[in-house]
Symmetry: C2
Subunit: 228 residues, 2 copies
DNA sequence: TGGGTACATTTTGCATACAAGAAATTTACA
DNA sequence: TGTAAATTTCTTGTATGCAAAATGTACCCA
């Protein structure tokens, strides 16, 4: 297998979380991960420390590492943060957005293909990635990084609180946002984005089944790089 | 010495960076840090991986770890991100802010004391921390974390590009922002915040002396917890 | 049968050992 | 004396070893 740095491992785990191959609350055994990537626990631990700093995993001392299980409040926090950042990005949308719009359209095409063909894993990943792409293409690299983490958190919350929000709906929302941008109507794009985030947030069940204390073992061997 | 976890080490290093005890571009030797904290390189590496994920340090493979040296473009990016986030936070400022304002006033008092008495280190730290406090007190914990990293970056840029912006001016800006909030004039607060960030950004020399390739060795022993 | 204690197993936390690459220094030679 | 090759030293990258804590299991006794 090709060389695996701690950063690579961290990436793979994030992909797996976003693609719902790792559920919130799931335990991440150091040795299990090490075996999976054919490296020593040292590298795994370094990767996990990175992910801890980014808020993807928590560690309970001497107990183990767990995929974060956002509380309802933390989920609301993440949505609130996203609203501020994404609205802000669209507010400052300048004129020359030909290239941006082209890129986003390509992304939406990908989303649509995924909705028809691919698994829920890839769908969720792409739907979240749209927001990251938007930020990146608008020239906000740092905010794109932040959004990558925030969308991961909201996606996690969606699986945890059994969202029934449809991928089709999200994809349609994305399309109308891009249309507004194309018309040069940044204000409308902003409004649509806020509505979209609101829809997704409201699709979460407000009173969830008490987050099962995750006996979900088995670290599915599916930590391979995301196939798109 | 009391127990030092990787996270503790990371915190100390961040404090040292914010307090300008570590300059941008400065090399961080693993062994040097390990000796400093009386731990093994393992813990230091784990801490550095955390800091890498948060954008505080870079690693050049087989060469070493360095405090990030934001390019002019990256600095602009960080300011842009801060504008979006901080303006967004003030935009959504609700009514009941008694407690928030009290806290912020206390912080400003601290800033003023630091301006008269303390070293440049503590001053810079507190001035950046104001923005983190604001976010935190407004209930945006996640954005507060993000701002901690972003303000660190802009502070770094300020030392790197020889900002001549005065601490007094910043502190006065902070005070007028809080005053606007107290009047319930969120829109004004937002405008003042944008102006404040703009002032700080413009104080950076646009064409800096080519960032000296940092022969700055010597990892000052001053990684002790910040004294305030 | 139920409960509690002792023992075994597993897993994390941390240090250390060792290999490999980069930089610094010395040596060789023109 | 200056440049290039060779060697030494330093530093990072990764694995492994060991101790401590937590969990699981067997056993004993009432």
């Amino acid at each position: 297998m090709t060389a695996v740095s701690p950063t690579t491992i961290a990436e793979r785990v994030v992909e797996a979380i976003l693609a719902q191959k790792l559920s919130p609350g799931e335990r991440l055994g150091e040795q299990a991960l090490a075996d999976n990537f054919s490296v020593s626990r040292t590298l795994v631990r370094e990767a996990l420390m990175q992910l801890q700093a980014r808020g993807f995993v928590q560690v309970q001392p001497r107990r183990g590492w767990y995929v974060v299980q956002p509380s309802a409040e933390e989920a609301r926090d993440a949505f609130a943060a996203r609203r501020i950042i994404e609205a802000g990005i669209l507010e400052t949308a300048g004129r020359p957005m030909q290239q941006v719009i082209r890129q986003l359209r390509l992304h939406i095409d990908e989303e649509q293909r995924a909705i028809q063909g691919a698994d829920a894993a890839t769908r969720a990943f792409l739907l979240a990635d749209f927001h990251v792409c938007l930020a990146e293409n608008m020239g906000h690299r740092l905010l794109a990084d932040t959004l990558r983490d925030l969308t991961a958190r909201t996606t996690l919350a969606a699986t945890l609180y059994q969202s029934d929000h449809s991928a089709e709906q999200s994809c349609a929302d994305h399309a109308s946002i891009v249309e507004a941008l194309e018309r040069g109507d940044a204000e409308q794009a902003r409004a649509l984005m806020l509505a979209h985030i609101g829809n997704v947030e409201e699709a979460l069940e407000t009173t969830p089944p008490p987050p099962e204390t995750a006996p979900g073992e088995r670290l599915r061997a599916t930590l391979s790089p995301v196939q798109r």
